[in-house]
């Protein structure tokens, strides 16, 4: 029984516990300004983690989200300086993210390169491209409309938080109420069964990476506006935050199980932890250690609960059957 509760609400319990602990131990934690600040801080990582959730649900991984964000940001910066308004730059930043995501998707779904390797390569390629087209320089000074629309405040609510909210809602809708969302879960749950049920596995997989790229593009818009700068070296460590949020949020690295709601809570938990450690004056170096330990513990917990589940499921049918090889023997 406890397992069931922990399974369902484990992350929620952790958030509540941390919230109470921080409210008690820091006088500033409960300030509205601080709470909004936490949400602002996690808005970019939440948006990218949403894209990452699609990818991980298909049992993939995307290590290239940081450089993808940097490259999109640089494209936004360069196009903003062309003085063609702010619509096209924003759109092109998002499209560039989608394009690089598409390339990831083709490498993985079509050319069967392991996701880890393909996106590791893309990590270097996108970073290099961002550095190359800017010659390593940061691009500054953007129009104020752009800064408002990407990182301003609307009735004292930071606009990035609104974007994150909208992205989360759309993603929840897609995953739960569309054919495509169902296909994502099916592929992650059992790729072969999905294929034999007539699901176009390659296309769905590719789209997962495209979506992840799009979220990087949206993240880049916010990042560029907040910093009022497009840096080719931006986005370092984004993959860690995104993957951590997804995993802490209860999505299985094996795919097929998980939710956007969990990812959102995972992102908030990490944001709260960072914020709390700052308020408590913990050294930023030490913070990294804590965050790393939390991620590993979360994965350990995930594995543990899965092995529990599997051992209870293994009590089902278990008659030995000889496997029919899908492999083609020698001619």
């Amino acid at each position: 029984m406890f397992h069931k509760i922990a399974d369902r609400f484990g992350i929620g319990i952790a958030i509540v516990a941390l919230f109470i602990f921080l409210s008690v131990s820091s006088p500033h934690f409960l300030d509205i300004a601080n709470l909004l600040n936490i949400l602002l801080q996690v808005s970019i990582s939440t948006i990218i983690a949403v894209g990452m959730t699609f990818v991980i649900l298909t049992s993939g991984i995307d290590l290239s989200v940081g450089p993808l964000t940097a490259f999109s940001s640089v494209i936004i910066g360069l196009t903003l300086h062309l003085d063609i308004g702010i619509g096209i730059p924003i759109l092109s930043g998002i499209l560039v993210g989608a394009l690089l995501g598409f390339m990831n998707g083709i490498l993985i779904a079509k050319l069967k390169i392991p996701a880890f390797i393909a996106t590791l390569g893309m990590m270097s390629v996108a970073r290099g491209a961002a550095l190359f087209i800017t010659n390593g320089q940061t691009i500054h000074m953007f129009p104020s409309e752009f800064r408002f629309i990407s990182a301003g405040n609307l009735m004292s609510i930071p606009i990035p938080v609104i974007y994150a909210f909208v992205v989360v809602m759309i993603a929840i809708f897609i995953l739960n109420y569309t054919k495509f969302g169902r296909h994502i879960y099916a592929i992650g749950g059992n790729k072969e069964a999905a294929r034999l049920s007539g699901i176009n596995v390659k296309s769905v997989e590719t789209w997962a990476y495209i979506i992840c790229g799009i979220t990087c593009g949206i993240g880049a818009v916010i990042l560029t506006g907040r910093l009022n700068a497009a840096q080719p070296i931006a986005g370092i460590g984004y993959e860690l935050d995104a993957i951590a949020a997804v995993i802490i949020g209860g999505t299985s690295l094996n795919g097929g199980e998980g939710s956007i709601g969990g990812t959102l809570m995972g992102a908030i938990l990490i944001g709260m932890l960072r914020n709390g450690l700052n308020l408590l004056n913990v050294s930023p170096f030490l913070q990294q250690i804590v965050i790393g330990a939390v991620i590993v513990s979360a994965v350990f917990f995930d594995q543990y609960r899965r092995s529990k589940k599997d051992s209870s499921a293994a009590k089902g049918l278990n008659r030995p059957s000889q496997a029919v090889g899908a492999t083609k023997p020698y001619q």
Partner: protein, 503 residues
């Protein structure tokens, strides 16, 4: 001959959920004999040897080794007791050398730092091969060798450790005739050294060359042990199939219509060779054969799960291209795979989501899924197919095999397919649920659906099919109308292949 009994298994029982895999089995193995285990797929041979090798645990019974009771708890203990198992699937590591494989887990090391003594291992391996009188370079990588050579390495592996019992599971199923002779020569040599060999094979014609005694198994029971020289092949076949058929309704055939599907000359490597057949509307067509005869592969080709090398498929007289499951489904074909858990179901999903998986548009309003429609369809299917569950949201991994199969049937019925391919539809399903599945299949046929059923269970084939096609080693070796005269004895020789020219 020396009649000393090395291994005696008494009253062995082993049950898996829904199946009594071994039912009071008695088995004895003498020093220096080659003892064949014979039986259909699913007779319990594999389970028995897995108990010897420690891969499975017996539920009850005693195992005596040299008269002393032993408890083979795991593979390690089995090896320490001097039992060596050579499985059909090789257990060698392809990227390692022959010598490294032979000494795997028991490497020879030299002091002071436990450095692996490669030279010594290679030298010892060489000696073993010389003794076996075969020419294999111990330094070669296993992946560069032929299947037969790899098998020799497996055997060498059991020799180096001076094993007294060697279990060979269908050792000749994947090697050529020439290599088979080589293998037999080594088996004779091992025999003369007093090693006892348990030999599993379906190739009846080769048994007389090497086997001393045969124990026939059927449905988890041992039918008897006979001396090879006292029996004929026909007698063995009778022992294998002597199972009494349950009382059954003859398949109805008056609703069978015109030809729906024609398959012409499909080939895929040497696994499926030049297979042609037809399927009529409302017909249940059974495919009999041994595991590995190419039946499942033929079905996967027909369904587009693999790409055929050659061949054509005609639906209602018109040629169709099927290169992917999507296309097959588009042409109204559904495929219920042999391994439900591996490629039939998404175990982490509920009954409802599995049922709608192959035809989501049916429960969509435009782009959007309608949970309401989905639940309605799932509820209808669950009721129509009589799936035992308290909720349509229950995860399918918690269902019994029979109910899982019904969910998959429900999935395909939702696609309105005209042809349903059942691959081993009742494997791992208990007797009660089996009858239900048969009833469902009959009902579907009467509704005009055409059914292909691959089954390794001959009574099932005879009970359910209107017509039976037999396959052997990738080829179609026979065809029968099931007009009531069809018998297991009539089908079995065609499954085994080439029995006609047994000496």
């Amino acid at each position: 001959m020396d009649h000393e009994v090395i291994l005696r298994m008494q009253d062995i029982n082993k049950a898996f959920p829904g199946v009594q895999a071994l039912d009071h089995i008695n088995f004895e193995l003498r020093k220096g004999e080659v003892h064949c285990l014979l039986g259909e797929n699913g007779a319990g041979k594999s389970t028995l040897i897995k108990i010897m090798s420690g891969a499975h645990q017996k539920d009850s019974g005693t195992v005596l080794l040299y008269g002393k009771e032993v408890d083979i708890k795991n593979a390690h203990i089995s090896r320490d007791l001097g039992i060596s198992t050579i499985y059909q699937e090789m257990s060698l590591i392809p990227g390692m050398s022959v010598a490294e494989n032979i000494f795997l887990g028991e490497e020879i090391v030299k002091s002071p730092f436990y450095i692996v003594d490669k030279e010594k291992m290679e030298k010892q391996a060489e000696e073993i091969f010389r003794e076996m009188n075969i020419d294999i370079n111990p330094k070669r990588l296993v992946k560069e060798m032929s299947t037969a050579q790899q098998q020799m390495v497996e055997i060498a592996r059991s020799l180096v450790k001076k094993r007294q019992i060697i279990i060979m599971d269908e050792p000749t199923s994947s090697i050529s005739d020439k290599d088979t002779h080589e293998l037999f020569r080594i088996i004779h040599k091992l025999k003369s050294q007093g090693v006892a060999i348990i030999y599993i094979s379906h190739r009846l014609q080769e048994l007389s060359e090497i086997v001393d005694r045969i124990t026939v198994m059927r449905d988890g029971q041992d039918i008897g042990t006979v001396n090879m020289k006292d029996v004929t092949i026909d007698q063995l076949i009778t022992m294998m199939v002597g199972r009494t058929l349950e009382k059954m309704d003859k398949p109805v055939r008056d609703h069978i219509g015109e030809v729906l599907l024609e398959v012409k000359n499909i080939s895929w490597g040497n696994v499926v060779q030049n297979a042609s057949f037809i399927l009529r509307k409302g017909e249940i067509l059974g495919f009999a054969g041994l595991v590995g005869a190419g039946r499942s592969e033929l079905m996967r080709l027909l369904f587009g799960a693999e790409k055929m090398d050659a061949g054509r498929i005609l639906l209602q007289g018109a040629q169709v291209e099927i290169h992917s499951p999507i296309q097959a489904i588009g042409h109204g074909i559904g495929y219920l795979s042999e391994d439900r858990k591996r490629d039939g179901l998404v175990l982490s999903m509920g009954i409802d989501q599995n049922i709608t998986m192959a035809n989501l548009p049916r429960v969509c309003n435009g782009f959007f899924l309608s949970r309401k429609k989905e639940q309605l369809e799932a509820k209808n299917s669950v009721q129509a197919l009589n799936v035992a569950t308290n909720s349509i949201h229950k995860l399918v991994k918690f269902l019994s095999g029979g109910n899982q199969q019904k969910v998959i049937i429900g999935k395909w019925l939702l696609t309105d397919c005209q042809i349903l391919i059942f691959d081993e539809p009742t494997r791992g399903i208990d007797v009660g649920a089996r009858a239900e599945i048969y009833k469902l299949m009959n009902g579907l046929a009467q509704l005009g659906k055409s059914i292909i059923m691959v089954s390794s269970d001959l009574p099932e084939i005879i009970r359910v099919s209107n017509r039976v096609i037999v396959m052997n080693q990738g080829r179609i070796s026979g065809e029968f109308e099931n007009d009531g005269t069809i018998t297991q004895e009539g089908i079995m020789p065609l499954m085994l292949g080439g029995v006609g020219n047994v000496s």
